[in-house]
């Protein structure tokens, strides 16, 4: 059952990801991106990382895609339906990406991963454990994350604000 679910979910994820980078209309691209994010959330659930799955939906679907769609709407020049999608080197890039994928796959299938497949912690405890680790060993990154967010917000506000004229 898990393998079947995995195949279905990853097929959805990869197909919609491919559509993200190839669709001509940027708005539709963004919609495919949202579907990709949902697919990735599904993969996280198969991996017993429920909190990450929900965070994925909350942040990527709820927040980042909204930002992206707003940016698409705010730069309406992109709506030209006849504009070229790719730059001149796209063939080269496609070849490079394909080769890179083959290379990665070849490496990863050869490595004898020492998988333990220990049972995942009970879901409820997993989140408590996560909370504990966030504030105990990762206390500094935890605070730095907050600083990063605020700095990003301030920077983005300065950049995006309309000049008073």
């Amino acid at each position: 059952m898990q393998q079947l679910m995995f195949i279905v979910i990853s097929a959805v994820t990869l197909i919609s990801a491919a559509l993200v980078v190839t669709t001509r209309s940027l708005f539709r691209s963004a919609l495919w991106l949202i579907l990709t994010f949902f697919g990735i959330a599904g993969l996280f659930i198969l991996l017993h990382a429920e909190f990450l799955a929900i965070a994925q939906i909350l942040i990527y679907v709820g927040a980042i895609s909204t930002l992206i769609i707003f940016a698409i709407m705010l730069s309406r020049g992109v709506m030209d339906p006849n504009a070229r999608r790719f730059n001149d080197q796209w063939g080269l890039v496609a070849g490079f990406a394909a080769v890179f994928f083959v290379l990665l796959t070849a490496i990863m299938t050869r490595v004898p991963w020492q998988t333990t497949m220990a049972p995942a912690p009970m879901a409820a405890e997993a989140i408590q454990l996560l909370g504990r680790e966030l504030v105990t060993p990762y206390a500094i990154p935890f605070e730095v994350a907050s600083v990063l967010l605020v700095v990003a917000m301030i920077g983005a506000i300065i950049v995006a604000r309309e000049r008073e004229s």
Binding site: M1, Q3, S10, T13, L14, A18, V20, V21, L26, S29, L33, T36, F37, I40, L43, F44, L47, L52, A55, Q56, I59, I68, F70, A71, I72, L74, S75, G77, A83, R84, R85, F86, N87, Q89, V93, F96, A97, A98, F100, L104, M108, T109, W113, T115, T116, M117, A118, P121, A126, L129, L130, E133, L134, L148, L149, A152, M153, A156, I157, V159
Partner: protein, 108 residues
């Protein structure tokens, strides 16, 4: 029937993640539109997250390190998207274009 009973091997997740990463890389390098480039980058970051979580599940499930790192990756992705898109909007306002090739000069 093995599709119904066997657990998913780690390699499968890694392959999907690699595929996603390459698709994202293609988008980031080949798209002309700056927002499209950014979407490609987001895909790449997501591929990284799949790897982090897969290794957490299969190798280090006793600690939450993989999940913690994935959360930080999400945080950084959000910050990157916020600033990147703000830059795109600002550039659009000044140059009236979001095509990457047309905004490659640093001089105003």
């Amino acid at each position: 029937m093995s599709l119904f009973t066997n657990p998913v091997p780690l390699t499968w997740f890694l392959i999907v993640s690699a595929a996603l990463f390459c698709i994202g890389a293609f988008g980031a390098l080949a798209r002309r539109n700056a927002v499209g480039v950014l979407m490609g980058v987001e895909l790449m970051l997501n591929a990284v997250n799949i790897n982090l979580i897969a290794f957490w599940r299969y190798v280090g499930v006793a600690q939450m390190t993989g999940q913690v790192f994935a959360i930080f990756v999400i945080t950084v992705a959000a910050a990157e998207a916020a600033v990147g898109l703000a830059l795109i909007i600002s550039i659009y306002r000044q140059r009236n274009t979001v095509i990457v090739e047309e905004i490659d000069t640093m001089k105003g």
